[in-house]
């Protein structure tokens, strides 16, 4: 991508008055030497896989380990019964995001966004919002272009893996991408989208990657629901005019530095945190001694 950072992106948007999806699509088309409509077609195809992964996730059973599976459906059934703590949009955002990760834990096909362990928030929140507002696929996929563009800008500066940056670099980034896309889909300005992203990312900083038994299940699956809520919060705040005091590019830099400072035990080694609690150890021992 010729764009280097979020500051450049906002300068480009201000100068030309172009929408974020327009800027990103043109960049990608130029980079790949392909027509724009062909590139957009790929986003539509990815969106179809994402929606299908939510559907399969809601319908599926337990993971191989038996630790997760079925929670997304629980939330949806509870919600349809009218017992809602935070409104239908939030309930669906949470449930759909968890559904994708439940499908991932069964090694079903998903779209990494930006990673597999953080694949829930982008499709989960975008689908819930599309249903709430009646957006068609063509419109929602424009949001996916924005999410992808934001992810690419972050990935240009930070390695997106739990092993290098902890969970902040996976689910923090996934939620941040979703927040920018939601803000865009709801008619926010480019500046609002970037602030939504910055607000969301900064509120996941320091998040450890401490998966029980080295699986992508506990806490990863349910956490996708929790960080989905952060994405909706980020969009809500930014659309209302709340701005991040620390600019997005600096938030990304802070994330990288925090990732470097984190001990190895909290970076996808299952050597610390939840993985090393008495229950976490017991689950690991049972899982690997029996099999």
């Amino acid at each position: 991508m010729a764009l280097n950072n979020f500051a450049d992106l906002l300068i480009e948007a201000d100068k030309t008055g172009r929408a974020l999806d327009d800027i990103f699509l043109e960049e990608e088309a130029a980079e790949r030497e392909l027509p724009r409509d062909r590139v957009f077609q790929v986003f539509l195809e990815r969106w179809a896989v994402m929606k299908d992964s939510v559907r399969r996730g809601l319908a599926g059973g337990k993971s191989f380990s038996g630790l997760v599976g079925g929670d997304a459906r629980k939330i949806i059934e509870f919600t349809e019964g009218g017992d809602i703590a935070g409104g239908r949009l939030l309930a669906r955002s949470i449930a759909y995001s968890i559904a994708v990760l439940e499908e991932n834990s069964r090694m079903g096909i998903i779209v990494a966004a930006p990673t597999a362990g953080a694949a829930g928030m982008v499709p989960g929140t975008l689908l819930a919002m599309a249903e709430e507002r009646g957006f068609d696929d063509a419109h929602t996929a424009r949001g996916l272009v924005v999410a992808g563009g934001f992810g690419a800008l972050i990935a240009a500066k930070a390695e997106l893996s739990g092993a290098a940056g902890g969970c902040q670099a996976e689910q923090g980034v996934g939620a941040s991408m979703a927040a920018g896309a939601l803000t865009f889909l709801l008619g926010g300005t480019p500046r609002m989208s970037v602030h939504a992203s910055a607000l969301t990312l900064q509120n996941t900083l320091g998040l450890a990657c401490d998966p029980v038994a080295g699986l992508v299940e506990v806490p990863c699956v349910v956490r996708n629901g929790f960080t989905a809520m952060l994405a909706v919060t980020g969009a809500q705040a930014a659309l209302a005019g709340v701005e991040s005091v620390i600019p997005m590019d600096e938030v990304v830099e802070a994330m990288v530095k925090i990732g470097e400072a984190m001990p190895r035990s909290l970076k996808e080694t299952a050597d610390g945190g939840l993985a090393m609690t008495p229950t976490g150890c017991r689950i690991r021992n049972e899982l690997y001694q029996i099999r």
Binding site: R32, M107, I109, V111, P114, S161, A163, L215, T269
Partner: protein
């Protein structure tokens, strides 16, 4: 892709697939040495299945990936996975892959750097820098004058731009190695012409192994 982890499943599969493509024949033996985070969460993250799947030539979205260990046994591929401490400087998601086929063997050292992206750090002992996102050529040849020029001439005649390039050798007049990243894939007849160049031992083609599915 098939999960559960983009770095520990998809990235691992791609690293191993690169080794399989470089071997250019069905492997009968595979040995994987896993460093740090790769070794620690190997089973939980499906890294074992993904590495074996890649050695069998699978792509990251192949639904058979989860059955790769059984498939390997059916196809007669023997495999060993073991942890190996590569030191504090090595990337936590590093793996050394050693594949053996009926007629040849290859060793690849690489790291999975997040979101399914990879970096190959070593091929048969040559320290390389390869992301496999662009169409790429790898040449092994005898260190002698003119090879770089003749190779780039073939590419230039086809009107293809060279994005980046590295040239290494074990010693003066010894075995040499060239990596050429291209903006577009080189047609097979040109690759054959390269194989015919004096001093060239082997030419490998990697077409966007880690660049997502090529869009046409």
């Amino acid at each position: 892709m098939v999960g559960p982890s983009s770095s520990h499943t998809a990235g691992a599969c791609r690293l191993s697939r690169v080794a399989r493509l470089l071997l250019e024949e069905e492997p009968v033996e595979a040995r994987f040495e896993l460093h740090s985070a790769f070794a620690k969460t190997m089973r939980g993250h499906g890294t074992d299945r993904a590495l074996v799947a890649g050695a069998l030539g699978m792509e990251v979205d192949d639904p058979r990936l989860k059955d790769a260990l059984d498939l390997a046994r059916q196809r007669g591929l023997g495999f060993v996975l073991k942890p190996k401490n590569m030191g504090p400087e090595a990337h936590p998601n590093s793996v050394a892959i050693h594949l053996k086929g009926p007629t040849r063997a290859i060793s690849v050292l690489g790291a999975s750097i997040g979101g399914g992206m990879i970096e190959i750090r070593e091929v048969d002992g040559f320290p390389v820098s390869l992301s496999a996102r662009d169409p790429c050529l790898l040449l092994f040849y005898e260190d002698r004058p003119g090879v770089v020029m003749r190779a780039s001439e073939i590419i230039a005649r086809r009107g293809i731009n060279i994005a980046s390039m590295e040239v290494l050798r074990r010693g003066k007049g010894d075995e040499a190695f060239m990596r050429i990243d291209l903006d577009a894939p080189l047609p097979p007849e040109d690759v054959d012409a390269m194989k015919e160049m004096p001093g060239v031992r082997r030419v490998h083609v990697l077409d966007r192994v880690a660049g997502g599915a090529p869009i046409t």
